[in-house]
């Protein structure tokens, strides 16, 4: 949305109100939508607040209880008191790291192929990725389990990693492709004209330029992997991950450490997103000012 268009709209509005007879403005109605939006935001955030709050609840037993019994930091101090839960979290972090590395490498190559080249099978590749993203998780998980059952491959960490790479490739490819499509190829040509071989050009010019896109894809893949429940539950066998452990514990009542770990992961993720946002703003603001200056010059 360009600023000039907003200005044009404002001007049009001002002209309209000054020339045309209008119904008197109903004052209170203009608060309806913002208030409503605020209410929906509260609705979206309330389970998160519950999670954070109940990580501090002084419960009698070792299970989370609905009743507020006072403030405590005991669950933060005893964060790793439940060996199985700790192990599940470690499994999750390991699986997410490995599968992110593999999926990011493979997905980036796919994105490069799709943006740079027009080749036979390009549309098929597009279609397969679309199907992969659109398919319900339960079908992906069930199909993969059927495959492993048919092969007689026992389920464990390896099968979970295979599954996570499978559902992350398309997400990484789509994310990287979005950043690649505005890529200025003249920089690569310049590098080659200056005598760089394709390999050097890729490492010294292409990769640094598309790195923000790759990073965004990798972060998305990591987040999807660490949070995945459905596909993992089908292909985990005896191995537990953080979401699987929490789900299993939910039947008998979860220990407060679960909420504490959730809170810590939440805080970490939000901080990353906020830093990214601030960095983007710093980069975008001067560019915007420049652009609007140029636009003013033209008009």
């Amino acid at each position: 949305m360009s600023e000039s268009a907003v200005r044009a709209e404002e001007v049009a509005g001002a002209v309209a109100t000054s020339i045309l007879p209008r119904k008197p403005q109903r004052r209170w109605t203009r608060f309806i939508l913002p208030t409503y939006t605020g209410a929906v935001m509260v609705y979206l955030v309330s389970p998160i607040l519950v999670m954070i709050l109940y990580g501090f609840n002084k419960t009698g037993g070792l299970k989370v209880s609905f009743k507020w019994q006072g403030f405590t930091l005991a669950w933060y101090r005893g964060l790793f008191d439940i060996p199985n839960l700790t192990q599940a979290l470690k499994n999750s972090l390991f699986i997410a790291t490995v599968s992110t590395l593999i999926a990011t490498a493979i997905g980036t190559l796919v994105a490069l192929a799709l943006v740079r080249y027009r080749f036979r099978g390009r549309q098929v590749a597009d279609m397969i990725m679309f199907m992969n993203i659109a398919a319900p998780e339960i079908v992906l998980g069930a199909a993969l389990l059927s495959f492993f059952v048919t092969l007689g491959l026992p389920r464990g960490v390896l099968t979970i990693i295979i599954a996570h790479v499978m559902f992350n490739i398309a997400y990484v490819a789509v994310t990287v492709r979005a950043r690649l499509s505005g890529f200025d190829t003249s920089l690569e040509e310049a590098a080659q004209d200056l005598g760089a071989d394709p390999w050097t050009t890729f490492w010294k010019v292409t990769l640094p330029l598309i790195f923000p896109g790759i990073l965004a894809g990798a972060l998305l893949a990591f987040a999807l992997s660490i949070d995945d429940f459905v596909i993992t539950s089908f292909n985990a066998g005896p191995v537990s991950t953080f979401p699987l452990w929490v789900y299993a514990a939910a039947r008998v009542g979860v220990p407060p450490q679960v909420f504490v770990m959730g809170t810590l992961i939440f805080t970490f993720g939000v901080s990353l997103a906020a830093i990214n946002l601030l960095l983007q703003r710093r980069r975008v603001r001067p560019a915007l000012a420049e652009a609007s200056g140029a636009a003013d010059d033209v008009s």
């Binding site: 949305m1 939006t37 935001m41 192929a113 590749a125 319900p136 199909a143 790479v165 040509e189 089908f234």
Partner: protein, 300 residues
């Protein structure tokens, strides 16, 4: 851009042959293609094949082309398919009604804080899906923060309960997938050319008419995308049903999971999954035909 790449550049001619250039995209795409081929496409066939086998986990399964499993699966479990479609449909419609006014306000009146609002909208994604659902169950529980308080003020009868009902499941699904509806709606509303809206006003359309005859029709692609992005995961979901719905409100996902992981009745489970997938593929293709995949992908 592609044309540019294919132009004869001295720098490239020095290093790469024409053959190399023609092979390059296939080399780049082959790891991804192989992975998705082996672990996404082949498993679909494996699932189809498994559904047509007979046997048990102890004696092993043999390929018997037992097509009878399909009528059996549909006859026995159609109730769960219909319930999943009902829950998913109601939840998807609820997210549309809840998020449209909000997305509209952010897109048209969000001003400088748009990004902040969007980040707020995405906040739930920073919490694990299972924990989010558990916390939602906390809020809905009979003696919990919300209903416990209302009951103690005698605003609700003490017999009132939501947890372990279909309503709880639908509300959980709607809660969990709301951002998938709100974001594409926001994107289409944001893209609407403001001068078109202003023109409607200049032509003496009332605010109501402007909305119904200009803004709403222009936001239809966002509604389509949002429905697709919420309905597909909602119909296949079983986490909400098992955490919030108790034992009486199982969806088809619960049945598939139980048959695969606890009863080891692989042929039946595979048949049920295949029916679910086939139904969804038909639905999605119908959608893609109306919209074009590119446009849906834009919102993914």
């Amino acid at each position: 851009m592609e044309q540019h790449l294919q132009s004869d550049r001295p720098g490239v001619a020095r290093h790469g042959s024409r053959l190399g250039k023609r092979l390059a995209p296939y080399l780049l795409i082959s790891p991804g293609g192989l992975w998705l081929g082996i672990f996404f496409l082949v498993p679909m066939l494996a699932m189809l094949s498994l559904s047509l086998q007979t046997g048990s986990i102890d004696t092993g399964f043999r390929q018997t082309w037992n097509f009878g499993v399909y009528p059996h699966a549909i006859g026995e479990y159609h109730k769960y398919f219909l319930r999943s479609l009902l829950y998913g449909g109601v939840a998807s419609a609820a997210t549309l009604l809840i998020s449209y006014p909000m997305s509209y306000w952010i897109a048209f009146h969000g001003g400088r804080r748009k990004t902040t609002y969007l980040l707020l909208l995405l906040l739930p994604f920073f919490v694990s899906f299972v924990i989010r659902t558990l916390a939602w169950g906390f809020i809905l529980s009979d003696e919990g923060i919300l209903f416990g308080t209302l009951k103690s003020w005698h605003l609700l009868p003490s017999s009132f309960r939501v947890l372990n009902t279909g309503t709880a499941v639908v509300s959980g699904i709607a809660y969990n997938f709301l951002p998938f509806m709100a974001l594409p709606l926001y994107v289409t509303l944001e893209k609407i050319d403001r001068s078109v809206v202003a023109a409607a006003g200049d032509l003496y359309a009332s605010k109501r008419e402007t909305f119904l005859r200009v803004i709403l029709p222009l936001s239809v692609p966002g509604i389509f995308a949002g429905v697709l992005l919420t309905l597909v995961p909602a119909v296949g979901d079983y986490v909400n049903a098992s955490i919030l719905g108790g034992t009486e409100n199982h969806m088809i996902g619960n049945i598939i999971q139980t048959e695969y992981l606890y009863n080891f009745n692989y042929p039946l489970a595979a048949a049920l999954s295949f029916v679910l997938m086939a139904g969804m593929v038909i639905g999605i293709l119908a959608y893609a035909r109306v919209l074009g995949t590119r446009e849906i992908e834009e919102y993914v």
